[in-house]
Subunit: 354 residues, 4 copies
């Protein structure tokens, strides 16, 4: 209801402000008996971690997660998995300048209006730091989804676009790229662009693509809870996201039905996959793929026109250590949200027939 929970059966409830004592989450509805590899959780956190390379924010957040419940002798027990990530390197004073001012295209203004006041330290609850909780939960979801492979990568930064066929991508290359683009040449260009944008005190947007294979047939609920609708909501809930398309996407809207339809092979697979692995909201066993558009980060190191809480015009300028481009660090977040949706829908599908 109040927006801090995600999922129906496999359900994450998230809490925590960027500059509070800790962030954390509770996963309720995780089935008993999953063998957990906590190293994988840490590995995923490191992919999201600030300071991991020269093109991301240099904030230091060591982001170590502490599990508090729901795990016994290395396995999930079926009871809620509580966990926290203690905040250590918060520099709250970096934010005193915005205590009464509203940063353009941030949530400061609307939080003040909605709640009557706000925790102004670093964006409080609206900070992308919250996504650390999603990555922890998503890594648990991945362990439930063991035959499913979720691969997200950066397909564009600003105007630089990696054009590809789904089948030709070398997923192993993703983590070798600072920007998480599997094409070496495009990766270099993207890195250069981010560096130059950063030098100018500016930021730039990008697109993350995701390809998911090994999804069983039958995931997705009809009508309102179609699989792609829930995936879309999951992606749109990530900070800075402005758009979502799956399968043929916006380009599909320009096509003819005779070109767009996916004919069947005798084994139930399809000859093409413009459907993006989902038909009528239900997975058909083909690869699921989609794109997620991210706007440029709102915090820039330049003077901007704004107002304070009394309506006076003021200048606001970013301070502290911020990302010039969010997409490299958002790759594991896209994967985590995908995993949360699929884990939940896998369980939902267990009750669809007798």
């Amino acid at each position: 209801m109040a927006g801090n929970s995600f999922g129906n059966i496999f359900k994450l409830s998230s809490f925590g402000e960027s500059h509070g004592k800790a962030l954390g989450g509770v996963i309720d509805g995780c089935p008993a008996g999953i063998e957990l590899d906590l190293e994988i959780v840490n590995k995923e956190l490191n992919r999201r971690r600030p300071g991991q390379s020269e093109i991301v924010t240099q904030r230091k957040e060591d982001d170590s997660v502490e599990f508090l419940s729901g795990i016994f002798e290395g396995k999930t027990t079926g009871t809620p998995i509580g966990f926290i990530i203690v905040n250590k390197d918060q520099k709250s004073k970096d934010y005193s300048h915005i205590q009464n001012s509203y940063r353009p295209s941030h949530a400061d203004f609307v939080y003040d209006k909605k709640y009557g006041f706000r925790d102004y330290r670093g964006g409080g609850r609206s900070s992308a730091r919250e996504t650390v909780v999603r990555v922890v939960a998503g890594s648990i979801a991945k362990m439930l989804l063991k035959d499913v492979k979720i691969n997200a990568f950066v397909s564009s930064v600003g105007e630089i676009r990696y054009e590809y066929e789904n089948t030709e991508i070398n997923f192993d290359n993703i983590e070798n790229s600072l920007v998480r683009c599997p094409d070496n040449k495009k990766s270099d260009q993207m890195v250069e662009l981010i560096k130059s944008v950063k030098k100018n005190g500016d930021t730039v947007g990008g697109v993350i693509s995701c390809i998911i294979s090994g999804v069983p047939i039958g995931l997705g609920e009809p009508v309102f809870d179609k699989l792609h609708a829930e995936l879309g909501k999951a992606m749109l809930s990530i900070n800075a996201v402005k758009g979502f398309e799956f399968g043929s996407g916006f380009k599909g809207s320009t096509m003819r039905g005779s070109d767009h339809n996916d004919s069947f092979n005798a084994d139930g697979t399809t000859k093409t996959n413009r459907s993006g692995g989902i038909q009528g909201g239900i997975s058909n066993g083909m690869d699921i793929y989609f794109n997620v558009a991210f706007k440029p980060v709102s915090t820039i190191m330049r003077d901007q026109d704004s107002i304070d809480s009394d309506g006076n015009e003021v200048k606001v300028k970013g301070k502290g250590r911020h990302d010039p481009c969010v997409v490299p660090r958002a790759v594991p977040i896209v994967e985590a949200m995908s995993a949360l949706v699929l884990a939940d829908y896998l369980l939902l599908n267990r009750v669809s027939k007798i």
Copy 2:
């Protein structure tokens, strides 16, 4: 859970197959005291109705709604509003040819796999006929949202694209266009395209844009239930939708932060509106706007390769009366789903502070 309900407080539960006895819905959580104008409900249904023009399906469905509860002396009572739309003109025999065959890019195959069998008459539950229920509920939601103006229109059909500034659109023109595009010239081109596509037994996709004004500041819940995430899910749940973008959308991913950020005016409005009326998932009082991409209708009047339920290769060809392009009739559906989201979030916002 099983996918046939939408909303948290203002909640629609939908039921019915395209060729069953009736479709219907229950709205629970509609506040008491709303004065209902049932003429408006019928007007909205007529906008979605088959047979309304030469460019849509010629099926006859008179789609009259019967309200069964929750209304007394012209006002909502606060108890659930039940309603049905009786099916009258179903030609189930049009579908006997697909009883054991799977239409390409339809939900036939996945329903069979998910549920073990399916109601094969006209797509059953996966038919877009289900959206009639959404239009009824959305029109009630609109009556709760009286100061909010929701205007959807067709902005592209196939490769024909209406380029516009949000502020220059003449919304009054929409209903004068067969295709619901407010630009006369583009409208004519779109109509021609649809006619020629139809003549070829083919179909074509398109884009619906929506602009919403008068939204109070503060609607939207943080983190997972951001206003645009719920709008996105709502749109992606409509049959044939492949993509959703709001504000600057996919184009925003190519921009710099210094160009993208919306500076404030002294009154709290913003000088630009690339945010699309939503910041941090919460409405800021500016216009909300978004685009919804629809694929071409899957039923085409041509032979296609497919299989039957025993895995034999067969040819499938559309029969009956189908839309060559779905977007003209989908305009009121986009508005209805927008209204359902906004009504729900308006009520949710009542409990955000003491």
Copy 3:
């Protein structure tokens, strides 16, 4: 949220007023593939039907249900099951005398305060007529629960109490008794009491007991959604219910642990069953049993002190045809609500482990 839905996975949404056009419901989340025997639905409705005997209300409501969706070729399809019961014999004019007056111990006063006005015809939504919807849904739930036997019966009317051991009851006798008490002698006494109370224009309360066998081990969710907590809520949601106890119940509060504990047999059954088939909120395979207390019906054929909506003191007296005692007709309602809980928890238990 607004109180008209019940269940998590197997979910009933109910609508309709006692004197509106129809009552009805939507069952979402019923698994596909259940073979339905609609005769059983009618049989259950007849057990709840007014006019079935001389000790219940003589209103005529033929209560025939019409299924509108979710069933194909005799089986559930996995899509929502919509159904309606058209109101035929409403005598709305019987209620004009209470349009502005509040019947003591009815919901008239609180509905007016909560919603601003009310549908005053026959109690509107607060009427026990709503339970017809529960009986329909419960009978579908019973078909999912085929190995589970749910037997409710009347164990007391007023001060007349049938004392029994769970194991000695002849369930086949229940439907032979006008009052649905399996003991012939007590049944006769109860019938006599109800007749004499009715003659005095008065009403009387009673207790329904329920014994459920064949429940699989493992149903029930820990902490807040314990099986008995959900059963308790289900029973307390039935009109006129004032109390719920299971297993040893209130009497158990007077006992010592050494007397109360259920020792195990080697096969995992227990030697006694004071737990009532539920330990820690989870079914242990033993019989589940509980008691439900019903107050006397509030509508009596005598003058009572009341007020009108302007605060003037008035006399109110029942008109029309009402039950002198609700428990005989409430037996199938108790069973229906039990079935709804168990069907839902059976499905929930499918996702408790990998």
Copy 4:
């Protein structure tokens, strides 16, 4: 879904095992702007704390709560309130004797069957230690409900019963009594009984009564979510509870309507209050009152017949430090669950009319 969350709008998600690292909770949906007095939280925790007197368990759990989020400058921010209670004095080795054995009338057996294995240390998730989380959340709920007075007390222990009229109780006396019975004489008798039971290695049950005043008119949702149904579920979800009755309760089932009905006064109050402050599931402004029956604690210091996980017959005997009677420490838990229900329904009622 999985049973560890409670509430619709004001929603508590709980986690933690009795012998894990910590217990904790997340309150989502608490409105912004509530001034918090954290002293009150600690005071409530002390009322539930082990070791508080000679008649309760002598375990030492200092039960200090740490709030991690959702509070800023002494007020709730509208974002989720996360908190933990670190476990300090767990003696897990006290439980090695039950690793493979099932304690009679405990949840050991059913957890093993439901989840495939269990955290056997001290009952794990099924331990009443979980209720510490409820007390924290309930104390926040009380701060939202400032005009509502919730007073629970012990009305019976074993066969010793405090008979009273609601209006004659001196609530100030409750905390002066070791057993939390406001009548000095009965309190002494109850304390004596508990001491003698404890000396015998046995345990005893009891009843907690609760009287709530100052509840606004209109709380409660019709049909399934009646206020008393939710209160009943809340109480039945507390460990060891076997029954719930409100207003006239089970005794009401023996009465005549003419005696039971509550006639109105001119001001809308009622002359009697057998309804228990709730009519048709909605509060009418009169005092809400109810009784909650607790069974004797299952852990007794005597040999009992049981089995191990291989089905071998074994003897089980309690070890460690346990309560001889649970009701004195359960009083604040009953109040906490009452507060959670009322806070949630207070917020729900904000959306019942325009």
